[in-house]
């Protein structure tokens, strides 16, 4: 981000960076930067808070008028808790579907598939409600596969790593990542159907702690970390289970 600011400004266009990692910005010294004390993934603050977002954006834009760089200013307001969502103990948000039920045998591909299909079936009406509430906005679409097809492919891979890539033109590491993200986006869209604000951590804990799809992410991570292909290992180590959710992983 700061590198891009250097490159673009050197071509004659004034730039300002909205920075989430102050330490990186201090070291990279872009011409102008506004550090914001928000969560990773939320450079303009909180969802559904246009006034707050506008204050952040305006503070960044105002820096464009200054030429005494490299300059780094701090946005003075934290993200308002009341707008950011429920507290970390998950109060204020609950998934619309309760998945508590008999356990299944994850060593059986059929049992795994069946559990996933059951979850998808229960979540689909909530996903559609969420799409309706968001005026047609869908979060999935990285692949052209349905959630059921993705579940089928990922379970197949988990039990037999010799199968060919299931996303046209993509190597297996990329196919797994795109499919895993698409499946996750379906679940998250359903989870966000309920009125009220949901925190990332509450939804993440629900996904990785309570759902078979979250378990599938964790199991894939474990499998991929053992592979010889460095691209597969990297996806396993870095790209399936976020650091704050690693407490759901039992090695």
């Amino acid at each position: 981000m700061s590198g891009l600011a250097h490159f673009i400004e050197r071509q004659g266009i004034p730039t300002v960076v909205v920075s989430l990692i102050r330490e990186h910005t201090v070291r990279m010294r872009p011409p102008r930067a506004l550090h914001v004390p928000f969560q990773f993934g939320r450079p303009f603050g909180v969802p559904g808070a246009p006034d707050f977002q506008r204050r952040v954006l305006t503070a960044a834009l105002r820096l464009l008028e200054r030429c005494d760089g490299p300059l780094l200013e701090d946005f003075p307001e934290p993200a308002p808790e009341a707008l950011e969502g429920a507290s970390d103990d998950q109060q204020g948000w609950a998934c619309p579907v309760n998945f508590s039920g008999p356990t299944f045998d994850p060593s059986s591909p059929e049992a795994y598939r069946q559990r996933l299909v059951q979850e998808i079936l229960l979540l689909r009406p909530w996903c559609e409600e969420s799409v309706r509430r968001q005026k047609g906005r869908r979060l999935d679409g990285l692949t052209s596969l349905s959630p059921e097809q993705i579940a089928d492919h990922l379970v197949s891979y988990l039990h037999d790593q010799r199968i060919p890539s299931f996303v046209t033109g993509e190597p297996m590491a990329r196919a797994i990542k795109l499919c895993a993200d698409d499946l996750k986006h379906f679940y998250y869209q359903a989870a966000l159907a309920r009125p009220g604000r949901a925190t990332g951590i509450a939804v993440d804990n629900w996904f990785f702690g309570d759902t078979a799809a979250g378990k599938l992410h964790i199991d894939l991570r474990k499998q991929l970390k053992t592979m010889d292909d460095p691209a597969l290992r990297r996806v396993g180590e870095m790209n399936l289970v976020p650091h704050p959710m690693r407490h759901h992983v039992t090695e």
Partner: protein, 153 residues
């Protein structure tokens, strides 16, 4: 919440200790008052139109987001799992504040909005962006852009 403090010591130290290039000091370019500027957004959130190819790791590539792109058509294929996506999932403006920019143009806080915005995927070595950033700067000039807001995730 996905704040730095939630990342665990090892991850924090990896992020903070990350090797970064030294590009020295870049002279700030002057411009007209904000109320006369034409503004573009550059995001490194891995945002793109549904029909676009998803981002590839380390490629230093970008995607074009026309100013009139349908917000419902924008999806995210950033490879990292270590940032919050629920903000973006509830409100595009959390990463790509296009509606806020339109409001600021309407009340003349800014002059106008660029015809095209650009998206990259972070988690890419900065040097990989050097050549395409020059191309984008030329496109900005053609579009008379004189202010760019760059936001990461």
């Amino acid at each position: 919440m996905v704040y730095m403090r939630d990342m665990g010591e090892a991850a924090q130290s990896r992020i903070l200790g990350q090797e970064l290039p030294d590009y020295g000091v870049t002279e700030c370019r002057a411009g007209p008052p904000l109320s006369q500027r034409r503004i573009a957004i550059v995001t490194t959130s891995g945002l793109h139109k549904r029909a676009d190819k998803s981002f590839s790791l380390g490629a230093g590539e970008y995607r074009i987001i026309p100013d009139d792109a349908d917000a419902n058509d924008l999806i995210m294929s950033h490879i990292s799992s270590n940032f919050d996506r629920t903000g973006f999932q509830q409100d595009l403006n959390v990463v790509f504040p296009i509606e806020r920019l339109r409001e600021l143009a309407a009340d003349v806080t800014i002059g106008s909005i660029a015809s095209y915005h650009y998206a990259f995927m972070g988690a890419t070595p900065p040097d990989a962006h050097q050549a395409v950033a020059r191309d984008i700067a030329k496109l900005f000039m053609k579009d008379k852009v004189d202010g760019v807001v760059l936001a990461g995730v």
